[in-house]
Each structure stands twice: as structure tokens, then as C-alpha cells.
């Protein structure tokens, strides 16, 4: 499929079409090009493009269009991928991407952002998942907390069901159906809702398995309006760390002049700080202290805001710096020249049009950015909501709400810990490689017999697209529970050197986080002399693609301190196979030091399944033990797809005796006296 792309860029708060880097027409279909871009009152960038049904898109961004002097090309970064076409016009909003690590920040934090969109190549399933929004109904007027019910069905394995509000992806629903939305966290007015789903034909990593296919579904747009006395209720940070001098800005707008009270509450709903005020908006910069500036523990806090109209006239809008979500940015009152083309809703600063653009057919006028916002549908409603002299008809004169749960905000002070993930999906077609070699210089190099095969066989590594969903699902679940995603490295974003121990010249990057996950193909040295290297050790090997592997013992897991690695999970076949682990242990070659609490991994052939990551994070944050969480996540995923799992699947867990019952919140220091190796059967085939 030929890639077609066009670019948009953002300059502080306004976007416009700039240039076309490459363009083409595929099979007489629509030329993929941006047709519109909106700046929302929250300074998100809504991108619209002419699209083709059944296509799936990737949206990239660049911070500038200056070619990298080393590569001669512009550095584009993936913002979102796997966006199913919504027909001949598709829309998505750039609100940053906090599902990946490090996160891509919201565009309001960037002085400039350029965009391009291109179709993604995939093998389509014969049928797509059927997705629909069951409730609320189209044109509903909504207030307070609303559950959006989505129905998604597929004969395949369902990977994702997502709900979007104005093009912004919301938190996943654990049941893929019910999405709980607090409408007070958005500006009042009209909003566009849609849902998408993705399915796959089976599990990844199946030896000699068939090609995996994908299906995508999307709903038509649902138009609803949010009508609340308290609107745009928002936090400035997903989580904040007062120890680093960070503060949390809590802000909201009201539909009329109100007396308001903000209570910051702990997990037991006890108020730790109370602030009151009046006006048409509020903002409180919380430094993480309790009443009387007392120290209070890190953890999850909620923000309870109640407001009642007071009958007073509305004052002028005031600004804070930096602006909270939903409030106009600094400079909003500055007058600039703007242009709008006939028939277009995109208002663009005149100065941003490149030289040579014919502006004769455009309407050119001077205005402030606030006035510009008022010209757009969402902007006008937002501004009207703030500036209304009288309470809109039918709206209650008081309202209370607890927030803020809109993605990616979680109201957490401090972090519970950090995690990092490295994975390989092995491209579109996978690859084959010769076995690891041993015996250089003497005896002469010989291939190690692995996976029950002969020395001369090739190992075949099938593509495993599920790893990506597993990584993202795990990340979302952990971030949602207050964990900090330090890194998620996919495919060519990492190499053997990143995971090798420092004594081998590696970076040992897993030792920089509390919880690590490595997802690759894996092999084991056979029993007997043909499966050992020249040191008589039968190793296990993660495969990194393209005839590249590391020995398990090339890594060294575990580090001390607050950010030290305590728990490591190896999602790769046979990594902790009992015979091999025994062989490596006897030779002092296990990749575990005194700081690692637990090492978990497959001790048999294992399989990639999209829901494993999400479920693993869910069980972990339900405070099940880490051992139980891993076993439960696999057992649940494989029972869903039992036909495709043909072997008994076992996992191995190695760790200090005192740590075997560790949970994320309750764990013991290594006792350094007893090490256990336990093996669990998580699936027995038919």
C-alpha cells in the first residue's frame, strides 16, 4: 500500500495547512488530505481528513520540519496508530498520548506541532467487529456522571474497544462495554462521541501458525450536549510530585456566578484541605499539603467541588499562568489578523499563511483569540458558559461533583512506582535465524541444539502483533492506578545492549524501574550435550530479531532504592524452563541479584494474547499477589482462546522466599537465605 501523507502544523494555539510532503492516489480512492483542524478551548488539536472506508491510519507529529543533519530527514513521531476510518471523513484529536512511555505531552505544552496522516498496512479479516453505542441516544442532553454503553461483537479475539469524546480517547473499560464519564470535566455544549473496536483472528507466537488478520469497527458520530453548572473541571497534571516542587492546579468554570467549595479528599473521603471562593471560574494551586500546610502522605486523592449560584453579575475573565485546561491561554486578549476561506470553519492567523498563498478569496478580520474561539461551535459554547449572565433554563442552581478522572488525570500525589517494557513484534512476516553458536575459538563454532530441534535447524520467529496491545494495555492499567511509565520500547527502539548487564557493557535499563516486562520470542538449549554451550550450561535465549539473541544470563535483574527493580516478568517461551533454570543456577548463571524480589516467565511454550497486559495490570492493582496476577492473567486469556492453545502452558517463578507473596503495595525485603523456584500450570489443552 502506498503511503500518502499530508501535514498540518500547530503554532502555539492555531493550526493551518502548511505543506504537502508527498501525495498520491491509491486505487482512485480519496486523496488522503487534511480537510479541517480545530483548536478546542482546551487547546487540543482536532484533525479531520478525507479518508477511505476500511482503511486504518497512523497520525504522526513533528516538532519542526527541519531535517536532522545526521539522517537528512525530518524526525516524525507516532502520535496514534490503529485509527480505523470513519468513512470518507475521519477525525481524531491530539490530546497527547499518555499510554506510552515516555508520554507524548498534550499539545498545549508545545510551541509548535506538525502533523501527517498515512494509511497503515495490515491483513484484513473477512469481517470487522460490529460496534455500536447503545446509550445515551443521539442528541441527548447530559449532565453529571453518565455511563456510555458500547456494544462490540466479533467472532475473533477482541483486542480493544475504545470510546472517543471530540476525538479524544477515553480510559478503557474493563468490560469493553461501560465507559463512565463525568460530563462536568468537559466544557458545556455540543460534543461528538464515537466508539471503535479492533479484533484479531487468533493468538500470536503460535509455532507454524497461520497469518494473523485484523478487523476494525467504528460507530457513526453521536451528537450530545453537556450541560452542567460545574464545567471544565480539570487538573493540570496526571499526577504530581510535591517532593520535586510540583503542584497540582485544580480549575473549573461555572455556568453562572457561584459560591464554590473545593475539598481535597483522601481515599476514605476525609477532607484534607478545603478552599472556598466565588466567581464564574475557580483555580486552586495545590502544593500537596493538608490543612495548615501539614504534611500528608502520598497517594490517591479526589477533588470534591460543590457550587451554588449566588445571583451576582459576572466579572471579567482572569488568567492564570500557566493556563489550566479549559481556560484561555495567555495572550488571549491580543488582537491579531485572521483569515477564513469561503465555506471553511477553520479560522487561521493571517501571518501563518506561507508566502504565495492566494488569500483573495478569504475573509480577513482582526480579533482576539477569545473572540475566535467564540466563532467555533465548541468555543462559543464554552465562552458562553463562562460569560452567561443568567443560569440557562432548566439547569440546577447547585451542583457537586468529584473528579478528576478524565484521561490521563488520576489525582495522585506522588507515584506508587515505575515500570518499563521492551518488546519485539517481529515485523509483518517474522524471520528465521540459525541457532546460537558456541565454542569459539576452541572447540570450533557449533550451533546449540534448541527447542527440541537439531543443531542445524533454523528457529522461526512468527510476528507477534499482540505484544504491542499487551504493552499498551498494561501501561494504561498501571498509569491509571498511579504508576509511572518510564519507558515502553518497541521493536527497533531497543537492542541487546539496552538489556544486557553493565558488566557486559550494557545499559541494564530494567534496573531503572520497579517493575519490568520483556516480551520476545524465546528458546531453550536441549537436554544433553548438544543443547549446552562450551561451559556445559543449557541456557535460555530471548530472540531480538534478525539473527540476534541474548542469553538469559547476559542480563542482571535487580537494583536497590526507591526506583530499584523488584519484579521482572519475561513473556517469552521457555525462559524459565525448569531444566535450563537448574542448569544456569548450578553454574551461577541466573540473571538475578540480591535486590530482585521475583523473576516470572514462561517455563513452556507461551502465547501472546492482547488482553494479557490489561488483565495483568488489573489483577496487580486489585492487590492480588504478583505471582497470582501473572497466572490469572494468562489463565483467563487462554481460556478465551482455548482452541488456539495446543500445549500445556506453565510459568516459572523464581524469587527469595520472603518475597513470594509480594503484592505491589505489600512486599518484603529479600531474606537472602532461601530461593524458591515454583512452577504453575496455567493451561491444560483439550
Amino acid at each position: 500500500m502506498k503511503s500518502i501523507s499530508k501535514e498540518f502544523f500547530r503554532n502555539f494555539s492555531i493550526i493551518t495547512a502548511l505543506a504537502v510532503l508527498s501525495a498520491g492516489v491509491a486505487n482512485a480512492q480519496n486523496v488522503i488530505q487534511f480537510t479541517k483542524a480545530n483548536l478546542t478551548p482546551e487547546q487540543s488539536i482536532q484533525l479531520y481528513w478525507a479518508s477511505n472506508p476500511s482503511e486504518v491510519y497512523e497520525v504522526d507529529f513533528a516538532t519542526n520540519l527541519v531535517a536532522d543533519p545526521n539522517t537528512g530527514t525530518v524526525d516524525w513521531f507516532t502520535l496514534y496508530d490503529g485509527i480505523p476510518s470513519q468513512g470518507t471523513n475521519t477525525m481524531v484529536s491530539d490530546d497527547g498520548n499518555y499510554d506510552i512511555a515516555p508520554a507524548i505531552l498534550h499539545p498545549k505544552y508545545s510551541p509548535m506541532r506538525f502533523y501527517r496522516v498515512s494509511p497503515v498496512a495490515y491483513v484484513p479479516s473477512p469481517t470487522n467487529p460490529i460496534v455500536s453505542i447503545i446509550s445515551p441516544a443521539n442528541n441527548s442532553s447530559l449532565s453529571g456522571v453518565v455511563t456510555f454503553q458500547v456494544s462490540a461483537t466479533t467472532p475473533e479475539v477482541m483486542d480493544e474497544v475504545d470510546l472517543y469524546i471530540d476525538g479524544e480517547k477515553q480510559w478503557s473499560s474493563i468490560d469493553d462495554s461501560n465507559f463512565v464519564i463525568n460530563t462536568c470535566e468537559w466544557p458545556n455544549g455540543n460534543h461528538t462521541i464515537y466508539a471503535t473496536s479492533k479484533s484479531e483472528s487468533g493468538l500470536g507466537g503460535i509455532p507454524n501458525g497461520p497469518t494473523l488478520t485484523c478487523g476494525y469497527g467504528t460507530t457513526p458520530y453521536l451528537n450530545v450536549s453537556f450541560n452542567n453548572l460545574v464545567s471544565s473541571f480539570d487538573l493540570s497534571e496526571p499526577l504530581f510530585q510535591p517532593a520535586l516542587g510540583q503542584t497540582q492546579l485544580v480549575a473549573a468554570a461555572f455556568a453562572a456566578n457561584c459560591n464554590w467549595t473545593l475539598q481535597i479528599q483522601d481515599v476514605n473521603s476525609n477532607a484534607v484541605k478545603t478552599v472556598t471562593g466565588s466567581g464564574v471560574s475557580m483555580s486552586v494551586n495545590w502544593d500537596g499539603t493538608g490543612t495548615g500546610e501539614t504534611n500528608i502522605p502520598d497517594g490517591v486523592y479526589s477533588y470534591y467541588l460543590s457550587a451554588a449560584t449566588n445571583g451576582l453579575p459576572n466579572p471579567q475573565i482572569t488568567h492564570t499562568n500557566p493556563p489550566p485546561h479549559g481556560l484561555p491561554a495567555p495572550g488571549a486578549m491580543e488582537v491579531q489578523s485572521y483569515a477564513v476561506a469561503d465555506g471553511s470553519e477553520s479560522v487561521v492567523p493571517l501571518a501563518l499563511y506561507p508566502p504565495g498563498i492566494d488569500t483573495n478569496g478569504m475573509t480577513i478580520f482582526d480579533a482576539t483569540i477569545t473572540e475566535i474561539n467564540s466563532l467555533t461551535a465548541i468555543g462559543s459554547l464554552f465562552v458562553a458558559g463562562v460569560q452567561a449572565k443568567y443560569l440557562p433554563s432548566g439547569m440546577a442552581s447547585n451542583q457537586s461533583t468529584t473528579g478528576v478522572g478524565r484521561k490521563p488525570r488520576k489525582g495522585i500525589k506522588g507515584t506508587k512506582g515505575s515500570f518499563g517494557i521492551c518488546y519485539k513484534t517481529y515485523g509483518t512476516n517474522g524471520f528465521s535465524s540459525p541457532h546460537p553458536a558456541t565454542g569459539w575459538p576452541y572447540p570450533l563454532p557449533t550451533a546449540v541444539a534448541i527447542d527440541g530441534q537439531s543443531r542445524t535447524a533454523q528457529t522461526v520467529d512468527k510476528t507477534v502483533p499482540q505484544f504491542r496491545y499487551m504493552a499498551n494495555g498494561f501501561s494504561e492499567g498501571m498509569v491509571g492506578a498511579g504508576w509511572f511509565g518510564k519507558f515502553i520500547k518497541a521493536d527497533d527502539q531497543w537492542n541487546a545492549n539496552d538489556i544486557k548487564k553493565t558488566s557486559l557493557g550494557g545499559n541494564s535499563i530494567f534496573n531503572t524501574v520497579n517493575f519490568g516486562i520483556l516480551m520476545t520470542h524465546g528458546s531453550y538449549g536441549n537436554s544433553g550435550t548438544t543443547g549446552t554451550e562450551d561451559d556445559n550450561v543449557a541456557y535460555t535465549y530471548p530472540w531480538l530479531g534478525g539473527n540476534n539473541f541474548v542469553r538469559l544470563s547476559d542480563m542482571d535483574f535487580g537494583s536497590s532504592g526507591t526506583n530499584g527493580l523488584r519484579w521482572m516478568t519475561l513473556i517469552a517461551c521457555n525462559m524459565l524452563r525448569a531444566d535450563n533454570y537448574n542448569s544456569m543456577f548450578n553454574a551461577g548463571k541466573i540473571p538475578v541479584n540480591n535486590d530482585l524480589h521475583l523473576l516470572l516467565g514462561f517455563s513452556s511454550i507461551g502465547y501472546g494474547a492482547s488482553h494479557i497486559g490489561r488483565n495483568y495490570a488489573f489483577y496487580l492493582n486489585r492487590n492480588d499477589t504478583i505471582v497470582t496476577s501473572f497466572a490469572s492473567a494468562l489463565a483467563a486469556a487462554y481460556n478465551e482462546s482455548s482452541k488456539t492453545v495446543t500445549n500445556t502452558v506453565t510459568i516459572g517463578v523464581s524469587g527469595w522466599g520472603s518475597c513470594m507473596s509480594d503484592t505491589l503495595l505489600l512486599y518484603n525485603d529479600p531474606d537472602l537465605t532461601t530461593v524458591q523456584y515454583n512452577q504453575f500450570t496455567v493451561f491444560v489443552p483439550k
Binding site: S125, P126, T127, T153, P155, E156, M158, I174, D175, D176, S177, N178, S201, G202, I206, P207, N208, G209, P210, T211, L212, T213, G215, A578, Y581, N582, F585, N586, A587, F618, N621, R622, N623, D624, T625, V627, T628, A635, N639, E640, S642, K643, T644, S654, G657, M660, S661, L672, T674, V675, Q676, Y677, N678, Q679, F680, T681, V682, V684, P685, K686
Partner: protein, 317 residues
Amino acid sequence: MKTVLLFISVISLGFTSQADIVRLEGEPFKPSTNTEIIWAATNDLPKGLWIYKNMPEAFSWAVISNAMKIGRFTMKDCSKATNPMYNDKRLIYFSNTNEYGLSKYLYIAPSVGVIEYHSEHAFKAPIENVPTTEETEQLGRGVLFQLGIDKALLSEHVRNGYDETSSSLNVKTKQMSPAKTVVRGVSFARKIDGIDISANWSFLIHFRSNSTVEDYILVWRNLLPYESRSVLATNQILESIKSGLSVLPEQAADFTLLNKAKKITITKVEATYSYGDVGQVDFVYPYADIEMAVDFGDSNIETYYLKCPIILANVIK
């Protein structure tokens, strides 16, 4: 693997109902017109089968009471689930600590037909009297009885071996001790209309020392007979295969060779029900699992598996 979605409407009644979507997962398969297809299966199929609708309220209060008793919970242990796994407005949640001071919990989700119990494993607890495989199966059946499961609805294919073994690694001698079994598990699958469902298990339970229940999960929906359908005759199943309405489920075989098949002999046909995921499927449907011997004409005969519609229907792709 590709998957087809078959829409089935009843010829005899002439209407299409809510239940008329049958899902068959696999690679679409249409044999070459040069391939001879022979029916040699000798087993009988039922004359008719039901399509079932998933209903709420899967568990009686007596069952809930027994679940509490198994986990040694009282009403004082009941609280609101703060992080519910199951989307069930009637979710019941109990939590407490076990004899080792570790957590235990019980979720009962009657609307989606799930009971989940877990008592955290004490890794330092003495290992004694772990039930044998045979005892584990009997103990599992006993718990199923207490949970109100009719043993007539259980598949004969019990899956043993959901076990946990433990070894000690001696840090000084670098020796690993022989593995001891510390937990044994067993799973049971459900039958519908006397036919095994396609999911691997509907009930999975583990026991530890002294036959104490460590955990279990029961997925047992309340199924309402919704529509009865006639089962296809032998020649109709053959026609369905010839016309490309069957699929090849995932299996260790090269599908591309099938185009070269000289003769396909249907050796075995079994009816089954697809159970689906919790909360994702409104109806439960029957289909045919088919085993066939494929003759490539060079003395090479391979076994392949097919899924095929089994109820009388007009199939539209």
C-alpha cells in the same frame, strides 16, 4: 487465521430472529471441485439443537450461602467492591484474611454468571496432605455440587494437571531440590444439551495442603432455551462444506496443500456449542466439529479439522 461470520435464517419459519448470527472462527475453506468428498462418519448427530439466550440471575441465595461457607465468610466481610472486575450491578464482594493472615476474597457476579474465590497462598506454610489427582477431581466435584451445578451438565472430559510445584534453590551448594507438588488443580467444562461447549473450562479450582480450597472460578451462565432448530442431514452438511460454508480452525497443518487434495473423507462429526466470553455474547449456538482424512494421491493422507454449520439454515456470507 481468517474468520467468517455466518448469518443464518430459518428456512422453515421464514423469518430472521435476534439469534440468527452464528460465529465460526477459522480460515474459510472451499474445496476444489476436483476433490471427491466422502462421508464415512458413523456416529449419530442429534435430530435437533437449541439456540440459547444468556439470562441474568445465575445463582440462588442457597448457592451464594454455600460460596460464603466455602470461603469462611460472614456478612461482616461483605463490602462494596472498589475495583470490580465484573460489570454487574448486583456484584457481591467479600474480603477477609485467611489462616495465614493473607488476603482472601469472593466475588459473586450473578448477572454474568461468575463466582470467583481466592485465598492467598502462604509459600512458607508446611506442605502436607496435598490431595492426589483423583482426590482433587472428587473434591472439585464436591464444590461444584455446593455451587448448585448439576453434575449431568458437566463434560466427561475433566482436565487434571493444573498443579503447582515448588523447588528450593540452595544458594551455597547451587543445587535445586526435587520439585514437590504444593497445589493441585482441576477444571471442568460444561455441557449444553449433552454436548461439550467449545471453551476449555467453565470451572477451575485449586487445592493446597489438607485439601483446603486455594481458589476457584466458576463461569456458569443462566441459559434460556430460545429457539430449537433441526440439525442438518448428512448430505446437507456435505453441501455446506462444498459450497464453502465451513472454516478451518487453527491447527498444526498446511492449509495451502488442501487445494491439491484428491479425496476428503469425513471420518468424525461432533456437535458443540460456542460459549463465548463473559458479557460479550448474547446467544449460545451449536456447530459441527469435523475430522477428515485428506488423501493427496501419493499415499500421503493427513488429518484436518473443520467447523461447519449444523443447524438447518439458509446461510448468507
